[in-house]
Symmetry: C2
Subunit: 353 residues, 2 copies
């Protein structure tokens, strides 16, 4: 088969990690007899530099005409002083919205080999960590009306509508069915009208999933529970803002943040795939970056957008094998590691495919 992939290499370490991951994907193509046609497009800092906007219309058009989008990482200090709507982040938010990618799936799992990198005590980690955060991605206070009242004040509207909550809730319940069978919906229903509404819709959708257990936590409590008892979670369902905070907290707790992929999905099979880490401008261009999160994002792309789960499994196995062989990039190196650069890490994974 022939698949069209739009590629946004992005800023900082983006190009290196994406290039390493494309080589892995090419090898999968060879092995399983697929062709991946890449079209490179710009967003974020690179687009600001080249086109004076963080999200050229052309990028949106080409992404829409593709089967999936692979993204490195956007942003860096160079563009940090631009006004809000001209910054790299505006490109990221814009592309999520333009492509209708309302469901952000962020698995926070611990790689057993990197157990020591977790900030949590071993008793708390127990036999591992494995939480899937399902974050709504195109609504909430991120996209509500923004106002600036001169020098005097500013506001952002937090809001959710019924269809927005229904569809993300279904994604969470569907995911839970394939995993541990439990959804924890996180809100601040003791204070926010938006959250009370969110909770009422989640309760309704839950009726369609009698086999999935549902509970509700306030966001402040969820931030605590993640730290002392992460095993109570299977799927965390939450809005855009709380999801931003909790998914980062959960990832960091695994100690494996350089390893964690993410998927942003819309109504159909189309999706955008990217590592959860940032563009790390301090190590850009030095062949030091860890490509694994991006390689695993490619695996998610194969599974979710292209329906190629054997190929996805193959990549995930190859990553595990490479880690088991002791290869590590600097960010995840321990005392006895075999430290390699970004390029070599990619090659090691390829030879384990």
């Amino acid at each position: 088969m022939n698949y069209k992939i739009a590629v946004i290499k992005g800023d900082g370490i983006g190009p290196e990690i994406v290039e390493a991951s494309m080589k892995v994907l090419d090898k999968i193509g060879e092995k399983y007899n697929h062709t991946f046609d890449y079209t490179e497009v710009l967003a974020g800092g690179a687009a600001i530099d080249a086109c004076d906007t963080p999200l050229p219309q052309k990028t949106v058009d080409i992404c829409k005409a593709s089967d999936a989008v692979l993204l490195g990482a956007l942003g860096g200090p160079k563009w940090d002083n631009l006004p809000g709507d001209k910054r790299p982040e505006a490109g990221l938010l814009g592309i999520r919205k333009a492509l209708g990618l309302f469901a952000n799936l962020r698995p926070a799992m611990l790689f057993e080999e990197l157990r020591d990198a977790s900030p949590l005590k071993s008793e708390i980690i127990g036999d591992g960590l494995d939480v899937l955060v399902v974050r709504e991605l195109t609504g909430d206070v991120y996209f509500g009306e923004k106002k600036k009242d001169g020098d005097f004040g500013a506001s952002d509207l937090m809001n959710y509508t019924r269809p927005e909550v229904e569809r993300i809730a279904r994604v969470a319940f569907d995911s839970a069915k394939k995993r541990g069978g439990k959804v924890t919906s996180v809100d601040k229903a003791n204070v926010l009208e938006t959250s009370r509404f969110w909770r009422s819709v989640v309760l309704e959708i839950a009726k369609e999933y009698p086999d999935v257990e549902l509970d509700h936590l306030y966001v402040d409590n969820a931030a605590m529970q993640l730290v002392i008892n992460p095993h109570q979670f299977d799927v965390i369902l939450t809005g855009n803002l709380f999801g931003d905070i909790l998914s980062d907290e959960a990832s960091m707790l695994t100690g494996s943040i350089g390893m964690l992929p993410s998927a942003s999905l819309g109504e159909g099979k189309f999706g955008m795939y990217e590592p959860i880490h940032g563009s790390a401008p301090d190590i850009a261009g030095q062949d030091k970056a860890n490509p694994i999160a991006t390689v695993l994002s490619v695996a998610m792309m194969l599974r979710y957008s292209l329906g190629l789960s054997d190929e996805a499994d193959n990549i995930e196995e190859a990553v595990k094998k490479t880690l088991a062989q002791g290869y590590r990039t600097g960010d995840i190196a321990g005392d006895n590691s075999n430290v390699v650069g970004c390029v070599e890490m990619g090659e090691r994974i390829i030879s384990s495919l």
Copy 2:
């Protein structure tokens, strides 16, 4: 001297922990020759039961006529199904607003004796944890206009005005001057107009404090940094919503959550003091609750509202001594602890004064 203290015992374990703390305060009165005149008033669940509203006007009036307010904890499952504005939380939010308590100080510190209770690895704890979260308490999305659009959606307005940000920023900078000399302002300025405004005002106020170091973190990053590198923080300055989440996360990381007090302050010396933990209805009335967070809230009250710092020091020393003697309530008990109830813990502290 004669001091007027309004007392809100509250729900669940509230009455027990407040009574134990009042005895400590009485002993301080004897020792240092002060009189504390208590007026008990209702809020939260107890007020709903007695007066059909979570915050009777009488409570507000008496609090306003007092030098300080001591609060136990509000809420419980009994009142969880009432509509938003009739719930115990509405009483808490209402009293903060009615009394103009815009500055919430939440010290998250680790008690060396309870080091083992922290979920973090010993390397990360290092020589202890001591972060002061300065949370804005009467603005933000908590108090912005709320709308419900029938069955179709709901919204809350997040907003901040210049005077609101200025005054809370000053509290943070003033606090930092008396501590480690560093403020970390937490926002989501890469997405929210409110946060960009917040950041610009904080930067202006910072000019009044050339000796205090200032940095800025996005809230998602702050949630991660707390977990892997808490020592980078001295004072965290943030809005109402982010402060709710981050202060709870920080407290939990210390492992000492049953021990942590808080102060909510307005423009003058008046303030409200309460433990950060909740009303723990499951153990209410069983003499099992830990009164220490409330006792330490009394110490904060003496220091901030009554200007009695020797007396405050005395209480804090007595708590340390009692812990050093091995006395623990169930929630903080270790293998070799001398487990005592709420009443006895209060008495042990009194005999260490």
